[in-house]
């Protein structure tokens, strides 16, 4: 199957599925009844076919006619109208809705061409709300086809989105594509058309407006030139191509989101059954959705189940309980899972019980609200089928244990334990569900077979079995959506941490205070055993600084800097092509362009920005956030919301930290103490608030270290070493040699202590790690990082600062006690190692599958699998993979050293292969090179 045919298959299956669910929603502009659908269809047709003359002999064609929304109106103007659509279900529906008419031909097309239509046979071709959802190669092919089928005098009108280019996955059939007007026009001219914008239509969403999109109808008039290849046209449309990364922009997420919104609208309008169908559609088809749809889902479910519970005739559970069964089950539960037993017996009956029981021929089944936790009629057969299907999923192959989320009445668990040879565990979100199941039927055989059983919150402190794989019951996903989502995050972040070894690169800035942070981050990852590359571009800084020497105009300087960053970015793209990574962690101010980030994302690299700066002071994130899959910030609240609004994929709070291997207590010589020490010190740049605050400390034994301080009194005496920038290895000496380190967070606007200051600077953690005593200004986020008063002493005003300076100078024991507690705290909770664990868990929580696929798609994985019977070879493959070596022989022999002891047989064989390769390559090059 060629790539175009694959896309056609994808479109066909996607649209058949959607039409099968609800044709009006997915194809009829979301109208709730057909009359409305026909009316808007006619309106849209009039707009798109404005000024196009028809006539009895004229023939028109609609590409992507769906269920024929515009066909009726078109039939009134043209002699004959052809509607073509990839979905057979849509065409069948259109035939059913419109009925037999001689004027209309409704055709199921391939989805990528107009093969059933003769060349040069049409007067008018149009497409509305269809082309924009198609993958770019398909659009390109249609442009070629339109040119083919149009008469030389014909015209085409196509509705497209023009403006900002959208990053859409190449197999996505739902997200809207949009193109730059220049690119679209170029592509149309390559296809053999003169292209112009006929009219603009209203946009559907505010988001489109904010992205600068225009909903346009473009007119294509055939020119004399013939069409270029569809490949060339596709390239012209979107030069960088569409995303290939599996989960970059997830169409399933959009589908889930749309369907759930629809379900909510239905539930609001009292259409509970239809709402339930929509939810079921999501559960059945959108399991891989990664966006946060849970909020909507829970709202819909509350509304829909409330409406439905009145309609379903359920039998109250109480009357069905069998105390004997319950007791017998409890005996086994107590024996097998005493912890769960304790939870069950401790759990009280809910105040409002929405549960009920219904009898089936297989036994009783459990309902919560209107949701049956088993199959409402054939629980055993349905359980069997679910188990069979689930256990055959690809990911189950290598699983060492299966963890099923959702107990229900246990029918499906019975099936899973019977069909699966691996250990089976179960996690039930709600203890009362398990309680009911224990009363409902004899589940002792299931309890006996389960390897683990955990309930509720216990899951999150559970030591997950190694190599376990998760199976979520759809019913549980409906009833406990938030829990299931947390469980998945927990599960996949744990699995990711223990199983994944993605290749990570840490990109630092050209210069500045974040430079050491990049090093600490890289070193932490390295110590954790990750395959990590530190990309130090600080060597480019000299060139960057030189720009201002040559170019004096500020605007031009800006342009030059941009171009310089583009150059550095290109170097980055090249180096990452030579030695690819899976995750790129960019520190704030890392010199990387939007284009480079897009290119890397297209290659499947997960882009991460650790924005360790004040988002209010450094605002370049506004343009750049959208190129990152993850943005980690040192601030919360508005910062996170704004980053999200700027288009960042996921945004999480992740404060800075210390590197205990570097920031540590030092044994200083008396000379060093003399040079670097003082009763009071401050290290940092001379920001406005610090200048203002520290001027009042002129009479204190106080040393200031750092740049950008005034040279006027009293700073001429306070500031050390001519106000030069202090290196990290120097400031840890200052921290260590000083009795009281002042830590006043910077502010360019406020005087003294910034009352709205939130983030905590790296110095706070670094001072603590050095075992140094600090007085720190109040920060909103400090209390969740340190026990204020115990582990850190803060001041709220300059007066407070001076009082505490005097107090603690007089009480060295208190200082010592606080410093020791602070050091213990940061080593435990605030090291860069800890931060990297947190960062990676958050990445794994949603990108586990993507990363796993990349890892298992790596040639190393194939090699490791194949080398099963050759332990040493396998071990070498693993080692090379862990080192981040490129897959191949060079990686396998990289650490073989001759002359350092006996070579193993495997080593000799690998070296043999290596020498064979070089010899043959050399001979070939001799033969070709020296013949010349």
């Amino acid at each position: 199957m060629n790539p175009l045919e694959k896309l056609a298959e994808q479109m066909k299956s996607d649209w058949d599925r959607r039409v099968g669910h609800d044709y009006r929603f997915w194809m009829g502009e979301g109208h709730l009844d057909d009359t409305q659908m026909w009316r808007t269809g006619a309106e849209d047709f009039l707009a798109i076919a404005d000024e196009v003359t028809g006539g009895t002999n004229s023939v028109a064609l609609e590409i992507g006619c769906g269920v024929g929304r515009m066909m009726k109106a078109a039939a009134e103007r043209f002699g004959r109208v052809i509607g073509i659509d990839v979905s057979r279900l849509a065409i069948d529906k259109a035939r059913e809705l419109i009925g037999p008419t001689a004027k209309l031909d409704l055709v199921v097309g391939s989805g990528v061409d107009l093969a059933p239509v003769e060349s040069h046979s049409l007067d008018f071709v149009w497409s509305y709300g269809a082309l924009a959802c198609m993958p770019v190669p398909v659009i390109a092919n249609y442009l070629v086809e339109i040119k083919r089928v149009l008469k030389p005098s014909g015209i085409a009108r196509i509705q497209v989105y023009l403006g900002h280019e959208m990053l859409v996955h190449e197999h996505d059939t739902l997200h809207l594509r949009s193109f730059s007007p220049e690119n679209f026009s170029h592509a149309a001219s390559l296809a053999g058309f003169e292209c112009s914008v006929w009219c603009e239509r209203e946009l559907g969403s505010d988001e489109s407006v904010s992205l600068g999109l225009k909903n346009c109808v473009v007119q294509l008039v055939p020119s004399r030139s013939s069409s270029a290849s569809s490949g060339a046209i596709a390239h012209a449309l979107l030069p960088h191509g569409e995303s290939r990364a599996a989960h970059e922009v997830n169409p399933v997420a959009l589908e889930a989101w749309m369907a759930l919104n629809y379900a909510e609208a239905l539930a609001d309008s009292g259409e509970a059954l239809k709402a339930k169908q929509a939810v079921e559609y999501v559960v059945a088809n959108c399991q891989t959705a990664t966006i946060d749809t849970q909020d909507i889902l829970s709202r819909v479910l509350t509304k829909a189940t409330r409406a439905l519970s009145d309609q379903v005739g359920a039998i109250p559970l109480a009357s069905q309980s069998h105390e004997r069964v319950y007791d017998e089950n409890l005996v086994v539960l107590k024996e097998r899972f005493p912890k769960v037993y304790a939870q069950v017996v401790a759990a009280s009956e809910p105040h409002v019980d929405h549960s009920s029981v219904r009898e089936t021929k297989d036994g009783p089944v459990l309902f919560v609200g209107s949701t049956c936790l088993d199959h409402a009629e054939k629980p055993q057969a349905a359980g069997d089928a679910w188990a069979r299907r689930s256990l055959h999923e690809e990911r189950m192959k290598d699983a060492q244990e299966v963890v099923v989320v959702g107990f229900g009445a246990g029918y499906h668990l019975q099936s899973v334990t019977e069909q699966c040879e691996k250990p089976v565990a179960c996690c039930e979100p709600d203890v009362t569900v398990l309680q009911k199941a224990l009363r409902l039927r004899d589940i002792r055989p299931i309890l006996s077979k389960l390897a683990h059983l955990v309930v509720g919150e216990e899951l999150f402190s559970w030591e997950l079995p190694h190599g376990s794989e998760l199976l979520v019951r759809p019913q549980s996903a409906i009833l406990s959506p938030e829990y299931v989502e947390r469980a998945k995050s927990f599960f996949y972040s744990k699995r990711g941490c223990s199983e994944l070894r993605p290749r990570i690169a840490v990109l630092g800035p050209l210069h500045g205070g974040t430079l050491p942070t990049a090093t600490y981050t890289y070193q932490a990852l390295q110590r954790m055993g990750h395959r990590v590359r530190g990309i130090d571009v600080s060597g480019f800084n000299d060139g960057f600084m030189l720009l201002d020497k040559f170019v004096k105009n500020e605007a031009r300087q800006g342009v030059m800097r941009g171009q310089y960053v583009d150059l550095v970015s290109q170097v980055l793209v090249e180096t990452l092509s030579e030695k690819p990574v899976d995750i790129l962690i960019c520190m704030a101010q890392a010199p990387i362009s939007a284009q480079a980030l897009t290119e890397l994302r297209n290659k499947g690299v997960i882009t991460v920005l650790w924005f360790v700066e004040d988002y209010l002071r450094f605002t370049y994130w506004r343009e750049m956030a959208k190129y990152y899959d993850f943005v980690f910030t040192i601030q919360k609240g508005d910062c996170i919301e704004k980053m999200k609004a700027a288009g960042a994929g996921e945004v999480h709070y992740l404060p800075t930290a210390c590197d205990p291997f570097f920031h540590a207590p030092l044994d200083l010589s008396p000379e060093e103490k003399e040079k670097w020490g003082a009763p009071f010190s401050f290290v940092g740049a001379g920001y406005h608030n610090r200048v203002q605050a520290f001027a009042s400390l002129a009479n204190y034994p106080f040393k200031i270290w750092g740049s950008e301080w005034p040279s006027t009194k009293p700073f001429d005496r306070l500031v050390q070493d001519e106000s030069r920038r202090v290196k990290p290895e120097e400031y840890i000496k200052i921290f260590n040699a000083t009795d009281i380190n002042l830590n006043l967070h910077s502010s360019s606007e406020r005087d003294g202590v910034d009352p709205s200051g939130d983030f905590v600077n790296p110095r706070t953690f670094e001072l603590a790690a050095c075992g140094a005593f600090q007085l720190c200004d109040d920060r909103k986020l400090l209390p969740e990082l340190f026990e204020v008063g115990e582990e850190i002493i803060t001041f709220s005003s300059l007066e407070d600062m001076r009082e505490k300076m005097e107090h603690y100078l007089a009480h060295p024991d208190e200082r010592k006690a606080v410093s020791e507690r602070a050091r213990a705290r940061v080593i435990r909770d605030h090291s860069y190692g800890r931060r990297m664990e947190q960062m990676l868990s958050m990445i794994y929580a949603t990108k586990y599958e993507t990363l796993r696929q990349r890892e298992s798609g790596s040639p190393w994985s194939d090699m490791i699998r194949r080398a099963e019977g050759e332990p040493e070879l396998q071990e070498r493959c693993k080692r090379a993979m862990m080192r981040g070596d490129e897959p191949g022989l060079d990686g396998l022999i990289a650490d073989i050293v001759t002359g350092k002891g006996k070579l193993t047989e495997t080593e000799q064989k690998l070296l043999f292969m290596h020498h064979v390769k070089s010899q043959i390559v050399r001979m070939r090059s001799e033969e070709s090179g020296l013949r010349k």
Binding site: D862, L873, T898, E907, Q908, K909, E926, K932
Partner: protein, 547 residues
């Protein structure tokens, strides 16, 4: 001749990649067979040469290995490495199961050495590798092989590599030519090509191999045209241009340039056996240093061969009596085989007229002398091949006295090696002059010899240290440093005094091949190596003085 492993039972000969190499091994193969009647001889060759080996006499088993498979799979993504690895494992296992008791690997490549180390054959005549992956060359002759082909030393060697190879395998009883079977069907085919050619001349049939393995060894087509025109127009000759299909880009222009009914090309139309048959029907072959040259020698057809660019007649010249070798005299020749040449001036030193003359002269009979007017020995030395009294092939200049500055060194080395590692009784040196030679003519030699003596003293000290339990680590460290420094100095002397390169290189190879780990034994082996060096320095000076 001194022999290391006189008896051989199951022999593996590793000769993986080139047809010429295979043919050059034929005297050795025949010799092993003759000296060890009933022994089993297997050859390990690249799969594509398997076919060719069928025409080599005395081979009992041909083992083809598919190195291309290994390389292709290594280039393939995913689990190509596993396929290559499995193939190698299987190959090693199969070779082990064949229980060879002797192996002769004359390929200096690292991969054949590693392969042999993997197979684990105990007795070796050539290259192998030790447990730690280091190159091991057990025999002096094989070390001499490696020494002689070391680029700096090439000019000083006059022993044909066929003989060095043979001597590495302890072979005395050898044919004085290469061997190949000419099969009747091939001969019929070759004859039919000649019959169908439509020659109008009826003079000698002269084969011309115009193609060469490297561009810089390729005499230009226009020179070939001129040479062939002389043969066909002045000597009534018939000319057959031989070659492979890929050489037609060179051969076709020659045919077109000649515009003669008496010139045909069979390039691409003959298999190796058919080419052998065609050469057997020819009266002489005009060629460069090529595979067909060796085939011609093997079928008994004399050759007139041009050794251009990196080719050196002494090394790989035609191995039978009565062939003509043309070696240009030029400062840059023989050049490094691995470097291209954009201006091969050595080609100008051989004229078409000279080659045509030599070809016709050789057709008519043995050529033992030619006038220096025809070939000025300052530009090209014309040699005739023959065998010396020890059965080693040699080249004798026949166009008068040349000023070849290397001749005397070559002669001295030839005697040295035949005496010292061959155990032959070589015509004795004239005593008395050696000291003078040592000091004045062979610069650096006294110093090398002195180093060799010093080395022996150091080894005596080392042995004492080893025996003395009170020796401190510092003392060991110091003496080790002295030894390293001394060896480095010896190596540097060889590099700075070209004529001594072979002596010091042999020393280096010997040192690399120390075996075992017992310090006393190692010190004793090492002392022997310094003694070898000292003795060889002395003999070299004596032989140099005697020639």
């Amino acid at each position: 001749m001194k022999k290391r492993y006189p008896t051989k039972n199951r022999v593996l000969l590793v000769n993986i990649t080139r047809l010429g190499d295979m043919l050059q091994a034929t005297p050795t193969i025949a010799g092993i067979k003759a000296e060890n009647p009933g022994c089993h001889i297997a050859v390990l060759v690249e799969k594509q040469f398997e076919e060719v080996c069928h025409v080599i006499p005395n081979i009992d088993e041909i083992i083809g290995i598919d190195l291309g498979f290994v390389v292709r799979n290594l280039a393939r993504e995913k689990d190509g490495i596993n396929d290559a690895y499995e193939y190698v494992s299987k190959m090693v296992q199969e070779l082990r199961e064949k229980n060879f008791d002797y192996c002769l690997n004359m390929s200096s490549s690292a991969y054949t050495a590693l392969l042999l180390s993997l197979i684990g054959i105990k007795r070796n005549g050539g290259w192998t590798a030790d447990d730690e992956g280091y190159r091991v060359i057990e025999t002096d002759w094989a070390r001499l092989f490696a020494t002689s082909v070391f680029h700096q030393n090439r000019q000083y060697n006059s022993l044909n590599l066929v003989d060095v190879f043979r001597a590495s395998a302890d072979v005395d009883m050898h044919p004085r030519n290469l061997l190949i079977n000419v099969v009747p069907e091939a001969k019929e085919y070759a004859q039919s090509l000649i019959n169908e050619a439509g020659f109008t001349n009826d003079g000698p049939l002269i084969a011309v191999q115009a193609g060469a393995s490297q561009g810089k060894r390729q005499w230009s087509p226009s020179r070939f045209v001129k040479m062939i025109k002389i043969l066909t127009e002045q000597h009534n000759a018939r000319v057959v241009l031989t070659g492979a299909a890929k050489e037609r880009s060179i051969i076709d222009p020659i045919v077109e340039g000649c515009q003669s009914a008496n010139v045909i090309s069979v390039a691409g139309r003959t298999s190796v056996p058919q080419l052998a048959a065609m050469l057997s029907l020819s009266d002489v072959l005009v060629t460069g240093d090529t595979g067909p040259m060796h085939i011609s020698v093997a079928v008994g057809t004399p050759v007139v061969s041009m050794f251009l660019a990196s080719a050196l007649g002494f090394e790989t010249g035609p191995y039978s009596e009565g062939n003509i070798v043309l070696q240009p005299v030029i400062g840059c020749g023989p050049c490094n085989p691995n470097k291209p040449c954009s201006k091969p001036e050595c080609h100008d030193m051989i004229t078409p007229e000279l080659v045509a003359h030599l070809a016709m002269a050789r057709v008519q009979g043995e050529v033992r002398e030619i006038s220096s007017d025809l070939a000025d020995p300052r530009g090209v030395i014309v040699y005739r091949s023959r065998f010396d009294s020890y059965g080693f092939c040699e080249l004798v200049p026949i166009n008068g006295k040349s000023n070849d500055p290397f001749m005397r060194y070559r002669a001295a080395y030839r005697k040295l090696w035949l005496d010292d590692i061959g155990g032959f009784e070589v015509e004795g040196p004239r005593g008395g002059t050696s000291l003078k030679v040592l000091g004045e003519e062979l610069h650096g030699l006294p110093e090398v010899r002195q180093c060799a003596e010093q080395g022996q003293c150091l080894m005596d000290s080392l042995s004492l240290y080893v025996r003395d339990k009170a020796t401190t680590a510092l003392q060991f460290k110091k003496i080790n440093e002295e030894i390293s420094e001394l060896d480095r100095h010896i190596e540097e002397l060889g590099l700075s005094h070209g004529p001594l390169g072979a002596l010091t290189r042999m020393f280096i190879f010997s040192k690399e091949n120390l075996q075992g780990s017992d310090p006393l034994d190692l010190a004793s082996q090492m002392k022997g190596i310094y003694q070898d060096l000292e003795r060889r320095c002395r003999k070299f000076a004596e032989y140099y003085a005697s020639v």
